[in-house]
Symmetry: C2
Subunit: 340 residues, 2 copies
């Protein structure tokens, strides 16, 4: 099947075409990582330099077709869900899938959490629960195991979102594990970022310290049938009370495993969506996302050139750095000069 045909089928919402296009994105990240790592492993015979180029030619064609084709009347709403392992991110994602489906919205799910049941990382019970949606033609679920460093997530996610949007998804839920860099990246990608917490363990304090609160548009305290929920809510309320922004993140309590709080969460999401549109913030976020995507692709292309075309020079510079014959900044300048 040629690229145009594949894109055409994805536009009709054919799940297999959607899956193949997202695999193209994922494979391209992996190819680029492998090429860089293979070029790096001294004496390695692996890493066919032609392979990543070929993968990206198809991907380039697909993205060109998708990006410049007929525009949709409404862009998809991108909702990011993040939180520490164990707070119930996947259960919350499941609850939101059902809630949006009840409204008749088509839902895409992109799981970039390696411990998520969507990516095969969780226990069997969870995976079985996800099968609920396997036969629903209004739900597209895809996982991405983008573990590579240097912005693999920033590079791949917008492209996967474009595929799901073209397939007609009204809402796209992006689930990431929220410790460290991921939640910052997702906040830049999503229209609305939902930070999920669970009661106890000073989770609120931890979240604040880790900077998670800075990126939250909506705060969810899940497992609200457990002890300590009021303490956590109070802690969060004190923290969000200090924030001087036009949008103060609402705090919603849920018991996602029982579907409790789904309506409240949906209402909070809608309120944020309305704020985004009214304030012009929606367009600003979409522009930032486009900017990030272009920049991430450019940097990935440059990194691939360093590894594939200038691997020998990089090796020689690394040897000289170890031998104290150069310093890292002079070596980097030398590497950049190789691009010319």
């Amino acid at each position: 099947m040629d690229v145009r045909e594949l894109v055409g089928q994805a536009r009709q919402g054919r799940p297999r075409a959607v899956a193949r296009l997202i695999s193209l994105v994922e494979n391209a990240v992996e190819h680029a990582e492998n090429a860089a790592n293979a070029a790096q492993a001294a004496g390695s015979a692996g890493g066919d330099p032609a392979a990543p180029a070929a993968a990206s030619r198809t991907l380039r064609e697909a993205m060109a077709e998708l990006a410049t084709g007929a525009a949709r009347p409404h862009p998809a709403r991108v909702i990011g869900l993040t939180g520490s392992p164990g707070v119930g991110k996947s259960t919350s994602t499941g609850m939101l899938i059902r809630a949006f489906r009840r409204r008749g919205s088509t839902v895409g799910v992109l799981a970039v959490d390696p411990s998520s049941p969507f990516t095969g990382g969780a226990l069997l019970g969870d995976r079985v629960r996800m099968q609920d949606h396997a036969t629903d033609p209004g739900v597209f679920i895809r996982s991405m195991s983008s573990r590579g460093h240097l912005g693999g997530l920033a590079w791949a996610t917008p492209q996967a979102l474009r595929v799901l949007e073209a397939a007609g998804c009204d809402v796209i839920l992006v689930e990431t594990v929220g410790v460290g860099q991921a939640e910052v990246e997702i906040a830049r990608l999503a229209d609305t970022t939902v930070v999920i917490l669970a009661p106890g363990m000073g989770d609120g304090v931890q979240a604040a310290k880790a900077g998670i609160l800075e990126v939250a548009d909506v705060l969810v305290v899940n497992k609200a049938d457990r002890d300590g929920v009021q303490t956590t809510v109070r802690e969060l309320r004190n923290m969000t009370g200090l924030v001087e922004t036009p949008w103060r993140p609402p705090i919603v309590t849920t018991v996602a495993s029982k579907g409790e709080g789904a309506d409240d969460l949906l209402a909070a999401l809608d309120k944020h969506q309305a704020y985004l549109e009214e304030s012009g913030e929606a367009r600003r976020r979409r522009l930032a996302r486009a900017r990030d995507e272009i920049e991430a692709i450019a940097l990935a292309q440059l990194r691939s050139r360093f590894a594939v075309l200038h691997g020998d020079r990089l090796d020689a510079l690394a040897e000289r750095l170890l031998a104290a014959e150069t310093d890292p900044y002079a070596a980097a300048d030398d590497l950049i000069a190789a691009l010319r």
Copy 2:
């Protein structure tokens, strides 16, 4: 104080000079992030484009001085510690500090975990415990809150390591939170990567799925006074038994809060160090680290050029992408062309 003097004082192991140099590294990351973000925020007046350049001039001078100065007889041993929140990473770090100090080694600690007590993220009790080492002139503790995306960790950590090595540290412990990208990055930076787990919760399975086991040189099951430790050890043994590599990661049980297992852990670390030297892997890892550092600096420089020098072009390309007038790959090519 000029840069040469500052570096001279750091070489004598003066804590304040060491701290100032590492702050230089950290500030440069933050400047670069802020510049990129400020350039991105439409209509923002912030982000003095001269500021990051100035910050990196001092840093460049310092790194040139450090990298090409008199080489030390032995490079520092870099030991990475990673694991999910709650497994006892910081307590284990504390146990290792004491163990290496008993041997007379000088120890540096670099905490890049936002929830670590070293970075101020944990509860008061932990922080008080860390004060144990505050008055020991043989211990340097520094935290880095490098939360930025696109390889902030890959960029900053090798430079901070160079400062601690110059200050005479025999051993440098790098602590990161181990969910997602961080543990892959640290494995590329460290000579030995220690993955810490705790019994229960199918932690072993989770670790395997998340790819943590792939990067482990030594596995620690901490909190070994709890139920389920034998199950976790058995699970891990089954998994590492499948690995066909010249080095099979040993599994050590510890109760770090009581200092139990410190000698076993030290023995496992020494055995891995001996393996690294005998196999030539030590040199290979140091070369890979130098390569990564040079590449990360080059990419950060290029990213900064995109943001500062070509921000308008990037904005215009993002507008065209949203309007379906270009595709992301063509836009990225256009951006790269601006570098010429």
